[in-house]
């Protein structure tokens, strides 16, 4: 029997984490809707968005940390492979941030009655997305490969610190509508000690690994494009 698809051999040793990523996100989707959640006023079933909106933000912070570390490694070693990873990790992180804002806006509309509020956490998240967009604008403005890698690596360090300040530090210091900031109890205070933890933490790992897979594909594509240009 001729095989229907030309199957390239898949090495399990190198790709197990991709299967884990898919399994964990599937678990977050299926368990996220079927496992019991606390019945809280105002939130009702939207509390399930915790498994997606919040976990994606966590995944973004982890992946942007990878980007930061690679930027620092590039500055230390001048090995261009670190620049590839730093760029694509920032790209995936930005994508996760945009998804986080979109899911947050939808959640806000149905719980706060408005797509956007003039709030420290929301504005901080929007500013962080702009900061990382500016990273790519900066890269686009420099033609020389080494200079671009070096300048954007330095910018990346500031970008990460500012992102943490804008979305973690400042919102906790002022009035905010967002859970976990401005004197509101975070979800962990009264919900996360039960069933929800079982889906929440695996979901964070799942989204992170999925983000790493997308980053891995983009890095490999980049390398191929660079080699193609050299030949």
């Amino acid at each position: 029997m001729r095989p229907l698809v030309n199957v390239a051999p898949i090495e399990m040793k190198k790709n197990w984490w991709k299967i884990l990523a898919v399994a964990l996100v599937l678990y977050a989707i299926i368990g996220g809707f079927l496992i019991n959640v606390p019945a809280l006023p105002i939130l009702h079933e939207t509390i399930r968005n915790l498994y997606y909106h919040v976990t994606m933000w966590f995944a973004m912070i982890i992946i942007l940390l990878v980007s930061l570390i690679c930027s620092i490694m590039y500055l230390a070693t001048s090995n261009v492979k670190y620049d590839h990873i730093a760029t694509e990790a920032a790209s995936v992180g930005l994508f996760l941030g945009l998804l986080g804002i979109a899911t947050g806006m939808l959640w806000a509309q149905f719980t706060w009655g408005s797509w956007w509020v003039n709030d420290a956490k929301l504005n901080g998240a929007a500013i962080s997305v702009l900061i990382y967009l500016a990273y790519f604008v900066l890269r686009g403005s420099l033609e020389d490969v080494e200079k671009r890698a070096r300048v954007s690596a330095v910018y990346n360090i500031f970008a990460y610190v500012m992102m943490l300040v804008f979305i973690m530090v400042l919102p906790r210091m002022t009035d905010s509508l967002h859970p976990g900031n401005g004197g509101n109890p975070g979800f962990s205070n009264y919900d996360l000690d039960n069933n929800m933890r079982k889906v929440f933490y695996p979901a964070i790992l799942g989204w992170t690994l999925l983000g790493v897979w997308i980053m891995n594909i983009r890095v490999r594509l980049r390398k191929l494009q660079m080699e193609n240009l050299e030949n």
């Binding site: 390239a8 989707i29 299926i30 019945a39 009702h44 897979w213 594909i217 191929l224 080699e227």
Partner: protein
Amino acid sequence: MKTLKIYALIALLLMFFQTAMAQATEKVEMADIMHQNGKIYVVVGVLVIIFLGIVGYLISIDRKLFKLEKELKTKD
């Protein structure tokens, strides 16, 4: 007379406490009906299908890259 007034005040306040308790035990609307009539599985099914479709796309891109990388390796 003074103690009677204090008892009366406490009795009055306890009556309000009674209604406050009623607030806490009010039922919060959840999607129990969807769980009962099984329609929740449609929601889950749709999302799983979409997600697996996207994963399939990712896998196909991954495979194409793998083949390209192999070709380049064998060229050198």
